[in-house]
Symmetry: C2
Subunit: 151 residues, 2 copies
């Protein structure tokens, strides 16, 4: 019988291919935008967009491989045995995450959430989130998103 | 503002690329083996291997695309709003599913489960599951599997 130890030999995921990343994010990725009250903002709120992939800690190597692939973001504990790869910087979202998924479209309905997420980033880039009616526009988009995200 | 209807235009996933399938299965796939009591089997048990991918019904097109990709299996309701792409035939598992993931290795720890699943299929192909000690061998492998499957 095959040496059972061999079953545990896990090659480092190495450099990921774009289509693997698309497939994995179709399954496990999340485009989320939080709106938190914030007394120091003119609008009264802080808008916090993030792209996240959560995994059990046994697959932490995959999260680091994603970080290397996108060249931005952090890997942090999410809760319990779950870790998250997370990108929160508006610049990194605009310059790295969005162009990637524009070039390599998601195949699941998560693509719809991505397009709405991109719309919110565009509003933020125009600083609309600093105004009260910009916050309302963002809220209106968020209401229609399927944020089936593990958080 | 962009026509919000456009956000709902979802291109048919079309032909899938191998690396997309690997990434999606790394996230959402499941290699499972059930052992059910069965009075008509000499061993007293029936062994039921299956490869499954479960999704919300909004992504039923992806499950059909997987069925087309592998050229086997069925798409069925799993429970509630969840549907499953499922391959249960030993021949199809041996001839289509296993060779694909041998050629295109999974990158997550699910690869370990795949290798154990393949070992069980090999035992079944040698008809070991028809004997009592074959059932015990299969049970021993199953005990070490991370069957974090949605069922």
């Amino acid at each position: 019988m095959e040496n059972p130890q061999r079953l545990y030999v896990q090659p480092h995921p190495g450099r990921l291919e774009a289509q693997w990343v698309v497939g994995f994010v179709d399954g496990e990725g999340c485009f989320f935008v939080g709106i938190d009250p914030h007394s120091e903002m003119t609008s009264g709120f802080q808008v916090l967009p993030e792209f996240t992939v959560v995994q059990h800690q046994r697959d932490v190597q995959l999260l680091h491989a994603l970080k290397q692939f996108f060249g931005c973001g952090v890997v942090r504990r999410n809760h319990g045995e779950r870790l998250a790869y997370r990108v929160r910087s508006l610049d990194h979202l605009n310059e790295k995450i969005v162009p990637f998924f524009e070039k390599h479209p998601l195949k699941s309905k998560k693509r719809v959430d991505f397009l709405k997420f991109r719309k919110i980033l565009q509003l933020m880039t125009k600083e609309e989130h600093l105004k009260r009616d910009g916050i309302e526009k963002i809220r209106a988009i968020l209401k229609t998103m399927n944020t089936g995200c593990e958080r």
